[in-house]
Symmetry: C2
Subunit: 277 residues, 2 copies
């Protein structure tokens, strides 16, 4: 693992690392923010999963999360959104498939199956790597994310009971098997068998009996992707039918941007801190 | 004036405008953040002047200032760093001259004199425009900035007694007449007469008797530009010699990035809020 950047922020350190990933079969880059508290004790971790087109850089530079992480004593673990590089399959004319659009699944269809194993990467390889490398409390984790990464956060929590103490999402792709972004990526990465898609869909997982743990979701009412791609009402209906407690907040006038995330990330980190204590 | 973007953030609105500037003789773009308090009353303004290579976008997306502005009831006025466009002179192979590097002076030398009047733009044209267009308290202003914009904030305050209630700077170019960035821009924009340069140099202005009002300066000790370009010790020495009160804080381990600004912008806005009340 190669340390490629260290920046002091809010009394802690924001660092970037590059490493050879066994699950993705290529070099992967991630960022870690260690709060000041990590200089003298192990701290809990919040994983942040980013949306389409993002790398690890967007969240760390635009969300303002480091301030709250420093106040609350939380580490932030910020992976990339896909494998990358010359030898990695891509759809160069599309922002919503291939590099930057890993969708947090383990691809089984070609040409994606060689590298696109973001689900295993974020739920297995990365936690093992960071918990053995940094002053983090073993197994004391929460997960959050935005849009494609909100979907990622939800399915990581739903598919791994007990792995995360809490989960939250901003404008998640809540029912990807029936929206264009999800259909495009799932058909490419997983093939035509829709039953395989449902294993990576938050709404379907809840309908199948999976339970997410303490869950907070924020959605902007002025989000241009709300009606076609995000479908939080499907998630909410499944939760209602199956007696799952969901705090879904419609935030009046907010859009899909990082300003929306910046506005509410403090409340999300406080939600996680409450359950990570 | 054309409104080209509106984004809700922290209960207020971040907006971007384009207008034909009479001082720069071209279209200029700026951003304004209006805090929630501006929906029912006029609020004070903090002008933010950005550094080399920046547009109005860097500060608004990376500094996290909107949160504090919303808490404190302050508007943020965020101009671009130079005139821009096809008809505007540029040094295309350089990041530190021409477009993105206006240096907050009124250029008198060719080919820059036709458009590069950022000093008049930020101290005269823009305040008149925004105070007549938005719910701002007339004449109740503070000014801050980073690097080239820290220099800009200092000279705007020093050259206009009473115009700003307070001033602050992050890693300002504190004595541009004797550093490479300043020498490069001043010789191009103002010609070879160094006396003209000194009228835009914070250290020289203090030595000539100008007084800045309540002044806060933060400087990172790990800033790679500190020794060659920024020279805060020159400013500090001039302040000491001339009995000027300066709060210059060396911040251990911080670099020149927006993470440094994000860490301390809350304290700067609190400094301004105290004097704007």
């Amino acid at each position: 693992m190669e340390n490629i950047e260290n920046i002091k922020a809010f009394g802690g350190w924001l660092s970037r690392y590059r490493h050879l990933s066994s699950s993705c079969n290529c070099e992967m880059t991630f960022s870690v923010y260690l709060p000041p508290q990590a200089q003298s004790a192990r701290v809990p971790s919040v994983y942040w999963l980013s949306g389409l087109t993002c790398s690890d850089d967007n969240f760390r530079s635009k969300a303002g999360a480091e301030r709250y992480a420093a106040e609350l004593g939380l580490a932030l673990i910020i992976p990339d959104t896909s494998p990358r590089g010359d030898g990695v399959a891509d759809a160069e004319d599309r922002y919503d498939l291939g590099q930057g659009a890993g969708f947090y699944v383990d691809a089984t269809a070609e040409p994606w199956a060689a590298h696109y194993h973001m689900y295993t990467y974020v739920t297995r390889e990365l936690p093992a790597l960071v918990e053995s490398s940094f002053p983090l409390m073993n197994g004391v984790r929460a997960v959050s994310g935005h849009s494609m990464g909100g979907h990622g956060a939800l399915i990581c929590a739903l598919k791994n009971p007990g792995m995360y103490r809490s989960v939250s999402a901003f404008a998640p792709i809540a029912n990807p098997v029936v929206c264009p972004w999800g259909e495009g990526c799932f058909s490419a990465y997983l093939g035509s068998d829709r039953a395989r898609w449902e294993a990576y869909d938050a709404t379907c997982l809840i309908e199948s009996g999976a339970r997410p743990g303490p869950l907070l979701v924020d959605q902007g009412s002025a989000d241009g992707f709300l009606a076609e791609q995000l479908l939080p009402e499907h998630l909410q209906a499944a939760c209602k039918t199956h007696g799952v407690d969901i705090r879904l907040r419609m935030q009046e006038g907010y859009d899909h941007s990082y300003y929306f995330i910046a506005t509410f990330i403090g409340e999300h980190l406080a939600h996680h801190a409450e359950h990570l204590r």
